[in-house]
Amino acid sequence: MKNIFLFIRRYFYLLSFLLLEVFCIVLLSNASKSHQTFFASAANEITGRVDKRYNNLRSYFSLQETNRMLALENTRLKNLLASNFAEINNGKKYEIDSLIKDSLGYFRKYTFLPAKVVGNTYTLQTNFLMLERGEAQGVKKGMAVTGPQGIVGVVVETTANYSKVMSLLHRNSKVSAMLKKDNNTGSLEWDGSDPNYLTLRNVTKGAKVSKGDTIITSNYSANFPSQMMIGTVATISAESSSNFYTLKIKTATNFFSVQYVYLIENARFAEQVQLETQPVKSP
């Protein structure tokens, strides 16, 4: 017993050093997997407040750019208004038999929710955005986030008034994407080297890809609606050892200046994820 105390006294600093170091590693490994610790969400509320102050100041510098993007989006939306489309007047009378198609059978699957970005990193290996919208405003974990130009990321953590979004520029981020041209899907990741480019893996060599092709979200994703803009193909590399292309994608979203985003809620998200993660019972 005495020897143990002597040992602890002798190596007290080394032991406390090792203890703190192990604590750091445990914190880090927990954080990158689950993002669920109470400690983290309490700290988020504080850093979120500081980020908000700072962002209030910063937003003045990018007002012009934000205005331009909002105006662009407004014009795009106005072009979609039903009043823009006039009926073709050719004297014929169309009758639509409403009984064939059940017009009451539609339901709203995706709901959009605007949010202001109050924190954003793009220089690290694991980048997050902070949004000023939380559980109180209806944000849930797993909701997709898109900007005016293209998709941005997925919500991983929420507090009452803030939420944290895992950016596409995160080494654990994974989104199912496809080519707009022929619907060949692949898995969208980030290699951590350049915030302007993402990597699209596992695109079959049967796909006819060329530079500049548009990449959109696929139908296979639980949180993203299909056919949302992601980016354009910048370089194509064929892996000789496998049957797949690896594509470099120039992101449509400019992650350096993202100001406002939309949160997308899928009404059937929980149901779909539950079935996806449920282990298959062997027959």
């Binding site: 600093y13 406390s16 703190l20 170091e21 750091c24 880090l28 400690f39 983290a40 988020n44 080297s193």
Partner: protein, 177 residues
Amino acid sequence: MSNLLKNIIRFFIFILFQVFILNEVPPLHQFIVPYLYFLFILWLPFSINRLALLLISFAFGLSLDYFTGTPGLHAAPCVIIAYLRPFLLNLLIPQETIEQTYLEPGPKSMGWAPYGLYIGIFTFIHHFFLVLIEWLQFGNFGYFIGKVLGTTAISLFMIFLAEMLFTRIGKYRANKT
């Protein structure tokens, strides 16, 4: 100004400067993030208790981590340099003369050559472990070495600038009592 107050103010300034200015700098090349915050630990007084040094560095690293959303990532290298600091200081400076007369490490109290060595070694250790911890998750080796050396060079340059801009008065311990 009291030494404690001065260090508390430094704590906040280094954190805010790192988070809101240096982390916002667009990447220079292949993800060289300019790091300066750990200079806070290197500037702590000679006479600080070793356990206190470890705990302060841990808290310092962790508070930066909560801004970047990666708890533990910066705290780990901070604790390593805090643990190694007393050993290297003992090697680099003659015991009786300086440690008793000067308050904290600096080019005035240690001389440019030993101070440069002290800063250089710890900057390298800090970046080595910082990138290593990231690298344990993903990455490749050439990228690893390149990133450590590039980031070290940028950091050393900025520390040199900081020393030139804010000449700390090499305060004598005797004056303070």
